[in-house]
Point group: D2
């Protein structure tokens, strides 16, 4: 009854599991099964090079939908080309749009990203835009007609979690399309936190595929996303600052927030 | 296969749900059922005053074990007396030892706590010691023979989460008895985090009983504790600081940690 | 001997004090004097409307340089026009480029900002670009020829401090032009932290002008910026995680960083 | 006009600089001079063993008062003995009381500490009690008559900063004697933060003595303590959460605080 609706489709799971970094097909299969995911990402560049054929087969066998991505593209031009290639090869107009600024940080380039998003929307794609956590850019992207904004919690593969929860919460508060936290998740509590901040879903890959025990971590992420979603819906207790009442001077709230920065 | 062992007994769930703050018996019953808990705490003072009789009955009906606590005691003397009362009334030598410093902070008094713990161990009790998050006091308590140490993440009812994860991790790293995070949990990711830090179980009450939708939050906590436990066992990916490599000067790790404080 | 060099000029102070929010000219004068600042920002829109004439006079009297800004501009077109207006009126080719996305968040619009920066650089301006904290956009801006990048620590006037120190440190590590932390500072330790992260200077306004005692806070910020700069240069001690050594499992560093997110 | 009053004496500086870890006497002398400190700590055990004679001479030459400490004591009995030794040797009834739980964490043992404090107060000492950050223990110590409570921000020498600002703020809000932050400071912003939280003074040693450039870091700490004190007195701006207003659901304050834990 709490389905995840995006681009006209509906999913029972709010965990999107990327396949990158898996050490073996059988481990990946176990992880996918335990994660309960119904949607995953596939690199078109990798697929076109023949690398993902067996992964793609595996997904079809399990009835898991594939969201092709433009990983490895550094310009709008490359990303647009790759998206069109994906549409032909995989017969889907869904695309996770990644336009990377540089190989070192793997952060999205906001200018190339926006240009590519505008063009792909015009070309009839359902664009899932992998973006930084800037609320202003997220607003521009949704105004441009993307199907979902996918802010990074932290750099890809860093495992740093959500570096700026304030920004994620701001994006959520003004969202007109689904918000999917993408990149940065390192462990289960990060995924739960993303959902508590109001994200509609979480995408992660290496936190599972590179964990010591990938299938067990997949189960952890399944539970964490469910837990965070339920906590958001259940309405958490307010924070009660016992130090506040007794302090005649500056509020503890300020002190804590101040500390946060 | 991953049972929670404490004081010679074994539990399938690592979530201990306190009953304080419940708005109605039927809501509490739903919450207990959805939480999957097999152990809960009952206030002896409240029980003796006749207040908890129906709660106690409810627990027995669901096969949930009861851990009597000494809530409301401000001195070792009072707490010891209350524990003996509990042993007679409920026919158990288990006691969650709470000796509160003052009504404002509800923090444990370390001196009265330690004195009471020593005496109750000598009197044959299995003492579950509700303590602050001081690793030195935790070590003294386990040396004195308590069955479990229960450090507070934050003040009771504050919902502030785990204020000092460093201390909790230090306690865990030197523990010879189970460590149960007690007090402070506000939402699901807090509970997951406690388990990821290596706690053996989590005790919480108001985060569930005072949530807008208590049964749904109970389900969230069940999943969160499972998620955090699995993530701990699965072995999370290391944190990879992409800013580190490129910085010729001070490491980012330091900058981040410095910020943490 | 540790001058702040930017756009071919040299300043003895690394604190840039904005004038917005001052409650009176005399308070502002005291604050400016105590801050030790040698550079301040002036709103061109406000100045052109006659509002800042007395402020501008005050700055000239104290020998404080003025950096005109394009506050209040929502498009590249408006910002470019305003910058040209400033050049004529104040006879300077320096401009702090602000292009705001919306009145609610006051966050910079990355697309309009970049377009305006490119044009103003071509028009011969020394552009001080007020930007979000995205390392990819900062890199694009410095490649476009701006004189300085000015990432926001947090939204203007929020007093939230530095929400994402990781991003600021990444920007610093790849900077080819001075990095000036702009917006978000709430108290002295925030300013010190910015300098410790490697920023070359700090710009703040409301943290001083709206403080209960503005001149005293100005003195605090002067000392804080000096302290943070000296600490950066002095080379801080490494963080030594005493919990780490004793933990057989997951490193505390990870636990702490994980918590950070 | 803002003197630091403690145990009947008055100091112009709120920075107390420990001498441990100095690499040479001449570096220490420069650091002491640049720090502006008027009070320092001296290890009695070290002094008695002849190790600190030249340091002590240096302090007298500069007119810096010495606060003998009981570093190296693991029991109340040892600490009491050492304090009496100090009183005879240095002709002062001031003592910084350290009773360490173990060599690994260097955390204070709360039980031995309290027992020693009670005895030394009875013996006529002005006791400066180095304690953990527990507000309940701090209250017990001040009730027992100590001259100052000195909560640790983090373990000695860790440079982790202030791990639990909530506890420090709670201790300050209920303090009847001066609160001196002791241990944990790693860099200048940590010291500023301690003062902003309301501490009356900051004690640190290795953050200066083990810095790459100790005299420069001493100057940084002098400025940071002044900055934090002035910021506290000046009354900082409130934190204004721009995400809050626009969020119909859960407040960002909660999200942020939740994240803090």
């Amino acid at each position: 009854n709490d389905a995840f609706e995006v681009a006209g489709r509906s999913f029972g799971s709010r965990l999107i599991l990327g396949t990158g970094g898996a050490t073996s097909l059988s481990t990946l299969e176990q992880a996918l099964a335990l994660s309960g995911t119904e949607l995953t990402t596939v690199s078109i560049r990798h697929y076109s090079a023949g690398g993902s054929a067996s992964v793609y087969e595996l997904l079809q066998r399990h009835g898991i939908a594939a969201l092709p991505n433009t990983a490895g593209c550094f310009t709008a031009r490359d990303a647009i080309l790759t998206a069109h290639l994906a549409r032909e090869a995989l017969e889907t107009n869904w695309v996770k749009l990644e336009v990377i600024a540089d190989e070192h940080t793997l952060l999205p380039d906001p200018l190339e990203l926006f240009a590519a998003a505008e063009q792909l929307v015009a070309d009839g794609f359902e664009v899932f835009a992998y973006t930084n956590d800037d609320p202003a850019l997220a607003a521009r992207l949704q105004d441009a007609g993307v199907a979902a904004v996918m802010p990074a919690g932290a750099p890809i593969g860093s495992g740093l979690g959500i570096l700026n929860p304030h920004n994620i919460a701001t994006i959520v508060s003004r969202a007109t399309v689904p918000v999917i936290l993408d990149a940065g998740v390192g462990t289960a509590s990060d995924a739960a936190k993303a959902m508590e901040l109001g994200c509609d879903a979480v995408l992660l890959a290496s936190a599972v595929t590179r964990a010591h025990n990938a299938p067990l971590m997949a189960a952890a992420m399944r539970d964490a996303v469910r837990a965070g979603r339920a906590a958001r819906l259940a309405g958490r207790i307010p924070v009660r600052d016992t130090a506040l009442a007794s302090s005649p001077g500056e509020g503890m709230m300020q002190a804590l927030i101040g500390d946060f920065s």
